[in-house]
Symmetry: C2
Subunit: 316 residues, 2 copies
C-alpha cells in the first residue's frame, strides 16, 4: 500500500516552505537534563512564525495550491494556532483566508487572526456549526478547505520540524511530540521512522484528554470523553487519517497531568528563558514524570508553540 | 593615551571565553519593528549561560588568572547576575568563588549562587559592609577580587557581545545597551566604535536611576539620587573607570520609565516568546517611547539578561 504522505512528500514540503518559515533553533539545558536523567534536544517551534509549528503545515497547504485554486482563497475553522497560521500563510501568498471561529474565542486570538489579515466569521461554539459555516463560505467563494490536521499537505508540512531536528541531531534514541488532532505526531512519526528506523516515536497527551492513548491501546479510533485540560491545543480527537499514521509509526502515547504540564512550562521559562504554551510542555512533563523509559537516552522534543496568556505564568 | 581595554583586548577576551560561553542568537520580530519604526536586531544574552551577559565578563576574568592566583580562588560582592556568573565561571575552572551577599538577597538568588557551587557569606545590606566583608575574605584566603564592572577583564568580556552582534549584522546604524555600573556599556562602546566608527552608541537607563544620564550631561561622575526601579540590575552608580569609557564612546543616554520597561518586557515575551528581565527591557522601551531618533534605522539591542521572578509577568 502506498501511504501518503511519505518521506519524499515531507522532503518536497520542506523545499516548498523553506523560503517562508524560520529554521527554528535546537536548544539544550543542562539543568533540565539533570532533572530528567536524559539528554534533551528541544526543537523550538515556539520561535516559529505565528509562534507555532502550525505555520509549517498551513504554508505547505497554501503554497501547494494551483494559481487558479489559490485565487479563490482558503477557509478553515479553528480557534487556535492553525487559524493564525493559515491567515498569515494566505497573506504571504496574497490570497484571502476565511476563518470560522466560535463566538467563545478569546478576543486576543481573534485579534491575532485579524492582525494577519484573516477574514473572521463567528459561529456557535459547536463542531456542527463550525462545519456548516465553513461549508457555506466554501460554497459561496470557492475557497479551498484547509483542515487543521485532516489534510495530507498539512501533515507533510508538520513533518518538516522532525526532519530539521534529525538533520541537526542525527543520533536520537527517541522523539517526542504532543498529540491533539494528530497532524504533528503523524508527520513526526512518518519522517522519524523513515530517517532512523530504530528511533522510538512517542506521542504526549494530557491525562484528561487521552483519546489518542485509548485509540492506540485499543487499536481503533476512540473519541474522547469530554476533554478538559490546560493544554487547549490538545483537546481535539484524532481523525481516521491521523489515527492510521499514528497506529503505524508511534510506539507509545504517554500521559501527563495539567499540573505537570504547567510546572514544565514554568521550568522551561525559568531555566531556558523561552515561553512555551501548556500544550507544548506536555512532552517535557512526560519526561519528568517517568511515564517513559528514556533514562540516559538522547531525546528530541518538539516544542509545539508559545502562545499563552501571560496571566497563566504566575506561580500557582 | 593608551586606553585599556581596547578592541584587541576584547578580541583576546573573545578567543579566551569562546570554549565556555554560548554564542547567543540574534533574533528579529516584524511586529516589534513596526511598533518601533526601526529594524531591530536583538542580541539575546538572556539565552547566555546563567541567563545574562555577566557570564562573559566573569569568565574572561577567571580564565585570565595565572594558575597560582586561580588556586587561591575569587571573591566578589553582588546580589545579582554577576554573583551567579562568577560562581559558575569559577566552578568551570575548578576554583573557589566567595560571594558576599546582603542579608536582604532573595532566597532564589542565593540558591542560584549555591547551585553553581559559590560559597556565600551574608553581610549587612550596605555598600560599606559588602566591601569590608569581601576585603576580609580576600585577606584570609588570598582570593582575587573580581568586581562586577570596575575591572578591565570584566569590561573586555562584556564587549564580546557587541563583537558577535556586529559580526552577524555588520550594517548597524546604532547599538543600544542598558547601563547600571557601566561594564556592558563600556565594553559595547569600545568594541562598536572601533569596529564601525560612525555607529551611534546609546546607553539606556531607568528614569528613576538616571545617574549615567546626569554624568554624561554634566561631564563628570554624578552619584545617583537614591535609585529606585524595577530594573534591579541598573541601580548601581558608574565608577570613574566606566564613566571614562562612556564619556569617550557613548553618544546618548536615553531614559525609560518603569511602566515602559515592564510593557516592553511583556511585549517581547508575547511576540518573541523569550523571557527578558526588566533591566534588559530598557533598551526596547527607549526605542518605543521616542527618546531616541532612530526611525528607519537598523538598530542593535543587547538583551542583557532573562532572570526574572515569574510573578512579575502577570499583566498589571
Amino acid at each position: 500500500m502506498n501511504v501518503v504522505p511519505d518521506l519524499p512528500a515531507i522532503r518536497a514540503a520542506h523545499e516548498r516552505i523553506r523560503p517562508f518559515v524560520h529554521r527554528t533553533p535546537v536548544m539544550t539545558c543542562g539543568t533540565i537534563d539533570a532533572l530528567a536523567g536524559a539528554t534533551i534536544f528541544f526543537k523550538c517551534e515556539n520561535l516559529q512564525k505565528v509562534g507555532a509549528f502550525k505555520y509549517r503545515g498551513a504554508t505547505n497547504a497554501v503554497q501547494s495550491l494551483s494559481d487558479a485554486d489559490a485565487a479563490r482563497g482558503v477557509v478553515t475553522h479553528s480557534s487556535g494556532n492553525h487559524a493564525a497560521a493559515l491567515a498569515l500563510a494566505a497573506k504571504v501568498r496574497g490570497i484571502a483566508a476565511h476563518i470560522v471561529m466560535p463566538t467563545t474565542t478569546p478576543q486576543i486570538k481573534q485579534d491575532a487572526v485579524a492582525g494577519y489579515g484573516g477574514q473572521i466569521t463567528l459561529c456557535q461554539p459547536t463542531l456542527a456549526a463550525r462545519e456548516t459555516t465553513a461549508a457555506a463560505i466554501q460554497q459561496r467563494t470557492g475557497a479551498t478547505m484547509i483542515h487543521p490536521f485532516d489534510n495530507d499537505a498539512v501533515i507533510a508540512g508538520q513533518g518538516t520540524a522532525a526532519v530539521e531536528l534529525l538533520e541537526d541531531v542525527p543520533e536520537l534514541d527517541a522523539i517526542l511530540a504532543p498529540v491533539g488532532g494528530g497532524g504533528l505526531l503523524s508527520g513526526t512519526g512518518i519522517a522519524a521512522k523513515a530517517l532512523r528506523s530504530n528511533i522510538k516515536v512517542i506521542g504526549c497527551e494530557p491525562a484528561l484528554a487521552d483519546d489518542a492513548a485509548e485509540s492506540l491501546r485499543t487499536g481503533k479510533l476512540v473519541l474522547a470523553r469530554p476533554p478538559k485540560s490546560v493544554g487547549d491545543g490538545l483537546l481535539t480527537n484524532l481523525s481516521e487519517r491521523t489515527f492510521g499514521h499514528i497506529h503505524m509509526h508511534v510506539d507509545q502515547i504517554a500521559l501527563a497531568t495539567d499540573e505537570e504540564m504547567l510546572a514544565a512550562m514554568r521550568l522551561v521559562l525559568e531555566r531556558m528563558k523561552i515561553l512555551i504554551e501548556p500544550s507544548a510542555a506536555v512532552a517535557l512533563a512526560v519526561l519528568l514524570n517517568g511515564a517513559t523509559n528514556l533514562r540516559g537516552k538522547r531525546v528530541g522534543v518538539i516544542i509545539s508553540g508559545g502562545n499563552v496568556e501571560l496571566a497563566r505564568l504566575a506561580p500557582s
